[in-house]
């Protein structure tokens, strides 16, 4: 049994909140640059140039890429041979978020109550997901999630008879409905299967996967490619002003499901698709 003090988790969460918000992952940068090279339209080219300049400024000056530094989605994969000591885990994570968002000059975007509102002032609480895995390590992943795109996400409980076509139509419908609102070019996370709640979590996890990776099952890997192409035929384009680049990536995550159902969740993210991990 390996002992890990929760203080270590606070430190790592603080650091990752700041790094994730200021430095875009390499796969996302690469995808944006590739799309810029393929665009023909003047407006679309200009917007992608500005987006590239923006993430370069953020990199060089250590400032947030986007002012919506999001809700802090925190994923902990905790090895079953780890014994956490030194305090309450959830409080340790929130303390990391509190310090990261304060010391990193990040925006505090969380309200204490969904209906009565009121900013908590420190961006807590984190949206915390824990999973017990084999081993004696802890993998910490932070994915700050902006709400311009989160608000454009959808979930639907399909009848199995809707089949593959039902899923395909739903993905296109969600992107079409979102239009210019989620700051295209977007990244699309699709969760299929499980239960109502698990499908949504799968869609969120799909956004944490590098966009140059593919689903291990060739059936879904092909579907990822096909749907990305179809989305980019819609013509919505960068910022919705028309063009080839509506999405820069689409990841699908799947789980077994019930004989009576086929849940499908679509979590939309903007071109500032941020996530950062560290293993303790």
């Amino acid at each position: 049994m390996r002992e890990i003090n929760v203080q270590t988790i606070t430190d790592v969460v603080e650091k990752l909140c700041i790094e994730a918000n200021c430095h875009l992952p390499g796969d996302v940068k690469c995808a944006i640059k590739n799309c810029r090279a393929c665009e023909d339209g003047k407006i679309a080219q200009g917007i992608l140039d500005d987006i590239i300049e923006n993430f370069e400024i953020a990199d060089n000056e250590n400032v947030p890429i986007c002012q919506d530094t999001g809700m802090a989605c925190v994923f902990l994969e905790i090895g079953q041979d780890v014994h956490l000591v030194g305090g309450n885990l959830a409080e340790a994570v929130d303390e990391g978020v509190r310090r990261g968002y304060t010391n990193g000059y990040l925006r505090k975007s969380v309200v204490a109550d969904p209906v009565r509102r009121g900013n908590t002032g420190d961006n807590t609480p984190a949206m915390l997901y824990t999973e017990i895995v084999p081993g004696d390590k802890i993998k910490v992943t932070i994915g700050p999630k902006g709400f311009g795109s989160e608000n454009m996400s959808q979930i639907r409980m399909f009848k199995p008879s809707a089949g593959l076509q039902g899923i395909k139509d739903f993905i296109i419908e969600a992107v079409e409905t979102a239009g210019p609102n989620p700051c295209p070019p977007i990244v699309v996370g699709v969760g299929i299967g499980g239960t109502f709640d698990k499908a949504a979590l799968l869609a969120k996890k799909a956004l944490m996967r590098p966009i140059d990776s593919e689903h291990p099952d060739p059936f879904y890997a092909d579907l990822e490619k096909e749907m990305l192409e179809k989305i980019n035929e819609l013509g919505i384009g960068p910022q919705g002003f028309g063009g080839k680049t509506t999405a820069i990536g689409l990841n699908i995550e799947t789980l077994p499901t019930h004989i009576a159902g086929m849940p499908c969740a679509i979590n939309i993210n903007c071109h500032v698709t941020r996530h950062k991990s560290e293993v303790i």
């Binding site: 339209g41 300049e53 500032v272």
Partner: protein, 185 residues
């Protein structure tokens, strides 16, 4: 077409701006988003004065990150404008004319823009670090308790924007996409 515009946004200037124009905006603008708009519209409903002079004003839908020491403001890109649709016609009815944001607007906002000669500008969503470069000063005006949503006065120089919807109701989101799809055929 690229146009340099100096604020305030008078009716005369507003009429010259067309959907698809690239604009470099210079002058004083005000920041406000969900909670700030709610307060301003509640104040108007009670017959009170606003903390800003709305006549010919331009409002930037933004909640910036905190300024690091030695800087004017943090990252400051636009938020989704649709959430201000409930308030925008009221703001235009008392003289506010320019709106800076991103994303689609409801038909009633477009109707109000036609009635009051309003202009809806788009700034690049997700380019907050870049947009902060053109903000030369920032001053707190009201609603400090709202944090990032407080009402601020900004002085901007050559702020790069696109006219998304003009005062005749032409919409770049529709025109730009139609043009791209037509050219592809």
């Amino acid at each position: 077409m690229e146009k340099r515009i100096t604020l305030p946004l008078t009716e005369e200037i507003a009429k010259t701006l067309k959907a698809g124009d690239r604009v470099l905006l210079t002058g004083i603008i005000y920041t406000s988003r969900d909670a700030g708009h709610k307060r301003m519209c509640e104040a108007l409903a009670r017959g009170e004065e606003l903390p800003i002079d709305p006549m010919n004003a331009t409002i930037y839908y933004v909640g910036p990150t905190p300024a690091k020491p030695g800087t004017v403001i943090g990252s400051a890109g636009p938020t989704t404008s649709g959430r201000m649709d409930a308030y925008a016609p009221t703001m235009m009815s008392v003289g506010a004319r320019g709106m800076i944001g991103k994303g689609a607007r409801l038909p009633e906002v477009v109707e109000a823009m036609k009635k009051y000669t309003g202009v809806y500008f788009g700034a690049i969503g997700g380019a907050g670090a870049l947009l902060a470069k053109c903000i030369k000063s920032a001053k707190l005006i009201a609603y400090e308790d709202l944090g990032a949503e407080a009402l601020r006065e900004l002085y901007v120089e050559d702020m790069p924007l696109m006219v998304i919807i003009d005062s005749e109701g032409n919409n770049l989101y529709e025109l730009g996409r139609e043009e791209y799809l037509a050219a592809k055929k």
